[in-house]
């Protein structure tokens, strides 16, 4: 028993010789996993998928007009309108103030309002009324939920088919083209589920609006 006790005492303390590997491991693995790994990934990605690695930027007539996967804010009647967004940004006129800036991709956020929030219910009530008015719906017509709820990122690029089809009439009137033409365009730009299984049918707002503008260009060119 006594011998055992002594052998325990003679053992080196558990931390013996740990100082050097502990300190070096922090610096060494920082270089390996914090610099080498992301930089090599960047190099290979840039070679293989340059467009996506740079943010899937869309260029039209020499100008960068947006990203294929990031939504942007549309208010004019001739464009399809995206989902509500509650992102904010600094006031361009007064940098000490924060103002509503929908689709601000430099400061993303959702509303974070819970289901019983009065603010949320009031906001949705207001959006339902505005949507009905804008698109010529009756005062009791149901409004697709995606048109009146804010997305999580504030940058949702997509619309539901139901939402887009309701807006088609307004867009057609504003552009002076037949509604059927707009509906056909919507059909050709509807993305089904990925690989036929994942997700739901949806439309990319920027893609559809660009197609509308190009349609107008072609028509006026004739």
């Amino acid at each position: 028993m006594r011998q055992q006790m002594q052998s325990v005492r003679q053992e080196a303390p558990v931390t013996a010789g740990l100082v050097r590997p502990v300190l070096i491991s922090a610096g060494f693995f920082m270089v390996v996993t914090g610099l080498v790994y992301p930089l090599v990934t960047t190099g290979v990605s840039q070679m293989l998928f340059h467009r996506q690695a740079q943010g899937s930027i869309i260029t039209e007539h020499g100008a960068d007009v947006g990203s294929a996967i990031i939504g942007q804010w549309f208010t004019e009647p001739k464009y399809f309108h995206p989902r509500p967004s509650v992102t904010t940004g600094t006031d361009p006129n007064d940098s000490s103030k924060t103002v509503d800036q929908p689709y601000n991709a430099a400061n993303t956020s959702g509303s974070n309002l819970g289901s019983t929030s009065k603010k949320l219910v009031d906001a949705v009530t207001g959006r339902v009324e505005a949507y009905r008015k804008e698109n010529g719906l009756g005062p009791t017509d149901p409004v697709p939920v995606d048109a009146v709820t804010a997305s999580g990122s504030g940058l949702d690029p997509d619309l539901s088919v139901a939402n887009a089809r309701i807006q088609a009439k307004r867009v057609a009137v504003a552009r002076g083209i037949p509604e059927q033409q707009v509906l056909t365009l919507l059909d050709t730009h509807t993305h089904g589920p990925q690989f036929g299984m994942l997700g739901y049918p949806r439309l990319n707002v920027l893609e559809v609006n660009l197609a509308l503008d190009n349609l107008a260009l072609h028509t006026s060119g004739k």
Binding site: I57, S117, T149
Partner: protein, 567 residues
């Protein structure tokens, strides 16, 4: 609806198919006798002897101290980020309490974020502080479970392996190569991977839009594979640049459960008890599916208060229904519900929707999963947590039938039970203690984004998430205050090390014991009956501990929502 159910089934099938090959790979990593050349070089640089056999104390000490050094380095980078790198967006350094919170958060694999990525971190910090800590904290968790399983598998042994070898191998053989491959798939699908900080575009209506980007894909892949969860951007995987397509969403979810799920297979292989491994896997899956059913049921049903004001939340051929506040259309209520169940099962804490805007019971699900903390659980520690409860289960059953409890052929005695109880109790102690503290702290009210019971849920969620090392949030709460940063920081450290260290001690104690032959009175721990008992004990202990706090938050809110009460 049918579409959603098919996607859920697809997810579970792919997961099960991946568990075996991944498990075999991990088992090889832990048990292979030879070192690769790069590994030998690393051991030389670190100045360690890869053949050293460490007692659980020394193993744990190396883990703890190296984590402390890494946390220190991360803290330093965050404090001086404005001096370190040329950042075109000129983002300033983090304050001391915020940098402490961030470093503690990432080294403990929590990834709670009191800041918003795109406005407060330079690309250098995203790589050298965040990606670095994500990688090493997952390697730490994985190494710990390697040592733990080794301890359980040995008899009359005084060591549980070599921490440096486990850590290095997990990094080189598993995490880095896997993260690299997944990152390339992500870039293909649209996640940026660049050193540029932003692109400015002119929208069709003539406004300027600044698109913040950076090395996102390399962070995103380890974020999920390592069950980390911290986003490059403030809104995490709801951001189209972090999660552009349903495919990336699927890979995110599979990545989160890949390693925690495979570890049950590793466990079965190393201990030569395959059935035991599958019994644990089944326990995970049963709990996950149960929670998924609840969250999907409530989210797809939608919010009755919005139906009342004219929003159409029905599912039709041309629209997805359900509660879409805070959700993205590429995922809808279906893939979002699955993500909610998976991210709080795997203690990842990544979010593809704003959890704060879930329906009350939909929001109860992530809270409850993190309270249980072992529905898959975080990388490495999830299995350790489940085994904690498995030992508790054999103990309770042993009490009922009046036999000395045995687990894996070893007697469970007073010392092990004491350690197990420390690990079991540290979790609710931290959650309920800090929540109570915050509830009486006068500054808390100013941080809340929601009033009524949902406000309480925001605070409860915060400490559950911190302690469970999850990191997701009811993000309406403004947690970037000295009080919240500090208390959440401590909750994360307690949740990580006060559950990990006692269980390493259990592994050390069990390794030293001799195996006793199984007799007719031995309770088989690999039977369906035991899996059922285990799930029951997990839920009963969790329920008894946490139900009162859930009643004050989400349950009260659900009842009030039914009565059309708003706040």
């Amino acid at each position: 609806m049918i579409n959603d159910l098919m996607q859920f089934t697809l997810f579970v099938l792919i997961l099960i198919a991946l568990v075996v090959p991944m498990g075999m790979w991990l088992a090889r990593t832990f048990s292979s006798p030879s070192h690769a050349r790069l590994e030998r070089l690393t051991y030389k640089v670190l100045g360690i002897d890869p053949e050293e056999r460490m007692s659980w104390k020394r193993y744990g000490m190396a883990l703890l101290l190296s984590n402390a050094a890494m946390m220190g380095l991360g803290y330093l980078f965050l404090r001086i980020q404005n001096l370190l790198s040329f950042d075109p967006l000129g983002r300033s350094a983090q304050t001391p309490d915020l940098a402490f919170n961030t470093a503690a958060s990432f080294v403990t694999n929590t990834n709670w974020q009191s800041y918003s990525g795109e406005t407060s971190l330079s690309n250098f910090s995203q790589m050298a502080a965040i990606t670095f800590l994500m990688m090493v904290s997952s390697a730490t968790g994985l190494a710990a479970v390697g040592g733990f399983i080794r301890g359980l598998s040995r008899k009359n042994a005084s060591d549980i392996g070599n921490y440096w070898v486990d850590f290095t191998r997990c990094t080189y053989r598993v995490l880095v190569p896997l993260s690299f491959l997944v990152a390339l798939i992500y870039v293909w699908q649209g996640i940026p991977q660049t050193l540029d900080s932003a692109a400015t575009v002119t929208t069709l209506e003539g406004a300027k839009q600044q698109l913040v980007m950076g090395p996102v894909a390399s962070l995103e892949s380890i974020k999920h594979l390592g069950t980390n969860g911290g986003g490059f951007f403030g809104v995490n995987a709801a951001h189209p640049y972090e999660n552009p397509t349903p495919l990336t969403n699927l890979i995110h979810m599979l990545s989160m459960l890949l390693i925690p799920g495979s570890l049950t297979y590793v466990f079965g292989t190393v201990l030569m008890r395959r059935r035991q491994g599958w019994a644990f896997f089944a326990a995970y899956l049963v709990m996950l599916i149960g929670f998924l059913v609840i969250v999907y049921g409530f989210e797809s049903a939608g919010n009755p208060l919005l139906t009342a004001v004219g929003a159409d939340q029905r599912y039709t051929a041309t629209q997805f229904g359900g509660n879409l506040e805070g959700k993205e259309l590429r995922f809808g209520a279906g893939q979002t519900s699955l993500f909610v169940a998976v991210t709080t099962a795997g203690t990842t804490g990544s979010v593809n929707a704003m959890h704060d805007s879930l329906t009350p019971i939909g929001g109860l699900v992530p809270i409850a999963e993190m309270m249980l903390n072992n529905v898959f659980g975080g990388i490495g520690v999830g299995l350790i947590n489940l085994i904690t409860f498995a030992i508790l289960t054999v103990f309770l059953v042993g009490m009922m039938i009046g036999r000395t409890p045995e687990f894996l052929g070893k007697k469970i005695e007073a010392r092990e039970m004491k350690l197990v109880m420390i690990a079991v109790l540290a979790h609710p102690f931290s959650i309920l203690g800090f929540t109570a503290l915050a509830a009486i702290f006068p500054g808390t009210l100013q941080s809340l984004n929601n009033l009524g019971p949902h406000g309480f849920s925001e605070v409860l969620y915060t400490y559950v998430s911190g302690t469970a090392n999850n990191g997701s949030a009811f993000a309406g709460l403004n947690a970037n205050t000295p009080f919240f940063n500090t208390t959440i920081g401590f909750a994360m450290l307690i949740g990580r090390y006060l559950t990990l260290m006692p269980m390493l001690a259990v592994a050390g104690a069990l390794a030293a014991k001799k195996t006793i032959p199984e007799g007719p009175g031995t309770l088989s721990t690999s039977s369906a009956l035991f899996t059922g008992l285990l799930v029951f004990v997990v839920i009963a202990v969790g329920g008894l501990t946490f139900l009162p706090s859930l009643a004050l938050g989400p349950i009260a809110e659900q009842l009030l929502m039914g009565a059309h009460q708003t706040f």
